[in-house]
């Protein structure tokens, strides 16, 4: 495996606060993400992890603080602008386009790169057709990569949950992002499928050098594949550092990993099983 080429800070989140009416989803959160790294965000339910992602890609506008992405600082940018800067994401509660096929879902990820106007499209000749074919080739590469060839033409609504998650990832990858935000990509999967998913994430990270921000509740996964971890709790940051540091932090254990459980998850998993 190639050694990681972790580089400069690409995303810098500074003093973000976000509240909905009385609910403080995020309070004064700061952290950064470096080029090529896999950055995990963990925390108990309702800690504000998803809200954090929503702030980064412009779905929510934080009341305070600023986000700097590749040198550009913003307070309120539209999701489209963020997307144009190469940020893609997946969603916790599957936000796929249910009525469309797998292929079409992934093709929508290429939308930013498709420029031919209405008339060309309506005629479907020459440039429009060529463009469609080019982008289709890219989409097909992603389909191959995610091993979902067999379901290419199936409406995503009919797919089992795990595959839908994979399509969601595919759609994000189709944007060829430089920064990929993943919101619980492995929820509801069994070990085998999680392994597959990890493989995809690691491949993307390695081969395309994509920077990844990952929210995940499976500590095994987080500890194994992430480079640095942020821990949120009730909208506040309670930890930030390498997986091992975080795992042993008192705060994190109390707030998140579970009271009596002081041992790292990976060991527990094996030890729990009678030999």
């Amino acid at each position: 495996m190639a050694t990681k080429r972790i580089g400069d800070v690409v995303l810098d989140v500074k003093n973000i606060s976000l509240a909905f009416g009385g609910v403080k989803a995020l309070t004064d959160i700061s952290f950064d993400v470096r080029e090529h790294e896999i950055r995990a965000i963990i925390g108990p339910n309702g800690a504000g992890k998803s809200s954090m992602l929503n702030c980064i890609n412009g779905v929510y506008q934080p009341q305070q603080g600023a986000i700097t992405l590749r040198g550009r600082t913003y307070h309120g940018m539209s999701p489209r602008q963020v997307a144009e800067m190469g940020v893609a994401r997946t969603f916790q509660n599957l936000a796929l386009f249910k009525g469309m096929s797998v292929l079409d879902n992934i093709m929508t990820g290429r939308n930013l790169r498709m420029k031919r106007g209405l008339l060309w499209q309506a005629l479907h000749i020459g440039p429009a057709r060529r463009e469609e074919t080019e982008q289709r080739a890219v989409a097909e590469r992603i389909i191959d990569f995610l091993e979902i060839q067999a379901w290419r033409k199936t409406p995503v609504g009919r797919l089992p949950y795990g595959l839908q998650k994979r399509v969601d990832l595919g759609r994000a990858l189709a944007m060829e992002p430089s920064l990929l935000l993943l919101d619980e990509p492995m929820a509801g999967m069994n070990v085998e499928e999680k392994q597959d998913m990890c493989r995809f994430i690691l491949d993307v990270n390695d081969e395309f050098g994509t920077t990844i921000v990952l929210i995940e509740h499976d500590m095994g996964v987080v500890m194994d594949i992430s480079d640095r971890v942020v821990v949120l709790d009730y909208g506040k940051k309670i930890g930030d550092g390498a997986p091992d540091e975080v795992r042993t932090s008192e705060d994190v254990i109390r707030a998140y990993l579970g009271g009596e459980q002081t041992q790292p998850q990976r060991h527990r998993d094996t030890e729990e099983l009678p030999a």
């Binding site: 929508t108 031919r116 209405l118 005629l123």
Partner: protein
Amino acid sequence: MLYRENGQFKTSYPADSQILPIRQDRIAMGLLLAAAFILVPMASSEYLLRAVFVPFLILSLAALGLNVLVGYCGQISLGSGAFMAVGAYVAYNCQARFEGMPLIVALLAGGLGATVLGVAFGLPSLRIKGLYLAVATLAAQFFVDWACLRLKWVTNDSTSGSVSVADLHIGSLSLESPQARYLLCLAFVVVFALATKNLVRGHIGRSWMAMRDMDVAASVIGIRPMQAKLSAFAVSSFIIGVAGALWGFVHLGSWEPAAFGINRSFDLLFMVIIGGLGSISGAFFGAAFIVVLPLVLDKLPYWTGMPMDTATASHLALMIFGALIVFFLIKEPHGLARLWATAKEKLRLWPFPH
């Protein structure tokens, strides 16, 4: 065993993304088109052409347009009657005011007029959704109804507010015969159906569907909600506008605003839902259901041999019509087009059940 795609492999992406990937379907479509262009005008009575096929085609076209908006982009509209009206009146004004304007140009101008209105009334869709939007679009319906009655220049100062068009012709070709009118409508329908199909399988169509299915996710992917929705409104109202112009020019010949009243809007919405949201063929199924079924039901007393007075017969027809709507929705909530697709799927597996 006839209906199988075995052995038909696609070797290129364009081949794979053809409109009809299965050879049998292509043959069937070819036959259908040939029949529509050659057989029907030759073999049909004037009644069939004028009173069944022409309205069927025009309403299919309108339903096609509405389907772009409702079926593909997920914006429910109850204002299609208004867009048809605008199409008809703009086309009328073009012909009445500009001496010698070719018919086709006038019809397309009608479409453009409707587009302008469509975009204007599409703007609220950026904030208003679902049923709320549906009722809000009624504002267009009622406003246009009113304007067509009230604004004198809309009807070119006709005293009664009704307008009529002079003899239709394209170049030196007269469009008086039912065959000519039928073919004109058919040509429009075929061209627009093809263009719409092309749009919905391209990136613009995908951006519509994305807005429909999950708008937040769509915007995160980089789809501009405004652009996607307004383009859907524009395309949809253009097609509906052209259909309206055809309805006025080719079908009615002379009309008052009531010809494009709210019932028309409901009928069109009906067609796209009964026919199948988000499917091109759905528009045709739906239009057939709405246009042809009542005619068939009218004949009911004759078939049953029961003498029945007109009122009872039409009440009964109304009831059966309503019941059939409910029945089909229960049978297949996704419309007749889906029912057809399921039937085909079964045929593909035949003789195995699964």
